[in-house]
Symmetry: C2
Subunit: 188 residues, 2 copies
């Protein structure tokens, strides 16, 4: 028996995978144990409050990734067109390589909705706000920029649903490409 010793970050990454594949409710501790190879003891050592702690940690890790890779580049971008191109590229890679599931979107359904309402709202509000800012700084009016930003984030999220439903990655990549094109057209 290997009895591997790992740190909390490894556990969080493994948990994120399980939650994406099985959902938060369905991903029982037995399943988590099997699919991650982490025993009950370790799980409760890292996450004393159980599943709620695990979900919190996973969401925080996703949030951190978006802060670094998506939100901050949009905030500090010189050229809005490049920033939008960068956003669509990294977002597409991110979701395609992670089972086409957005864990924050998943948290808008079911019981866990209320538990993580604050974090979920902040994630989407910040994404929209920071994209609105990028568009606005390059000359688009406030209201137009806000509409374009909401529509873009919604398109990406809807694209994830459609690509899972139709079981076809091209649906998502097509939607992301056209979303980028629409933003680009508004910038010129």
């Amino acid at each position: 028996m290997p009895r591997t010793v790992l740190d909390r970050d490894d556990a969080v990454r493994a948990l994120a995978g399980v939650f994406r594949r099985r959902g938060f409710e369905s991903g029982s501790l037995s399943v988590i144990q099997q699919e991650t190879g982490i025993g009950r003891g370790s799980l409760y050592h890292f996450f004393p409050d159980g599943k709620a702690d695990m979900a919190r940690a996973v969401l925080a890790q996703v949030r951190g990734w978006f802060d670094e890779q998506v939100f901050e580049p949009l905030r500090t971008a010189g050229d809005a067109g490049e920033a939008v191109a960068h956003m669509t590229q990294v977002v597409e890679e991110y979701f395609v390589s992670r089972d086409r599931v957005c864990l924050f979107a998943a948290m808008t359904l079911g019981e866990e909705q209320e538990t993580f309402a604050r974090e979920v709202r902040a994630y989407f509000a910040d994404w929209v706000d920071v994209l609105t800012g990028t568009l606005h700084r390059s000359g688009i009016s406030g209201p137009d920029a806000a509409d374009l930003a909401v529509d873009a984030v919604a398109a990406i999220q809807g694209g994830l649903i459609m690509t899972r439903a139709l079981d076809d990655d091209a649906v998502f990549t097509g939607i992301v490409a056209r979303t980028g094109r629409r933003l680009h057209a508004a910038l010129s």
Copy 2:
């Protein structure tokens, strides 16, 4: 104690409400019993195979509603502009009055994904196909019509996620309005 006697359709409607509010996995039989007022006995009388039967029945009822109210009007429409306006109007009313949850979209996550993959795929594929047909018949090229249709359905689904996440109905109604406008612009 009332001991109300009801038929299967009443039960299906009540179940749909519970599944929209709590999710399919979280909606346990105890919760279903409490929130619908239907006892375990009645539930298993109407749905002998248990929760899977209940989910199947609820999805079938939603599918029937969309066939009548959305898909068929799009198929038989004379004027594409009117048909699109009708679609956006009834779809907006439907989801706003039903907790901003699309049960088919909810079924693209978690365990139940595989169980209902066929029905989920058919729902979204038919919606996209029938809308593509409406746009194509009014002169839009095949590929363009298909892209517009996928984008429109994705926008609506993404709009539901965003409106739940931001807890603001105006987000959904705004997205639906602009989606209708975009389709309308393509038709002129």
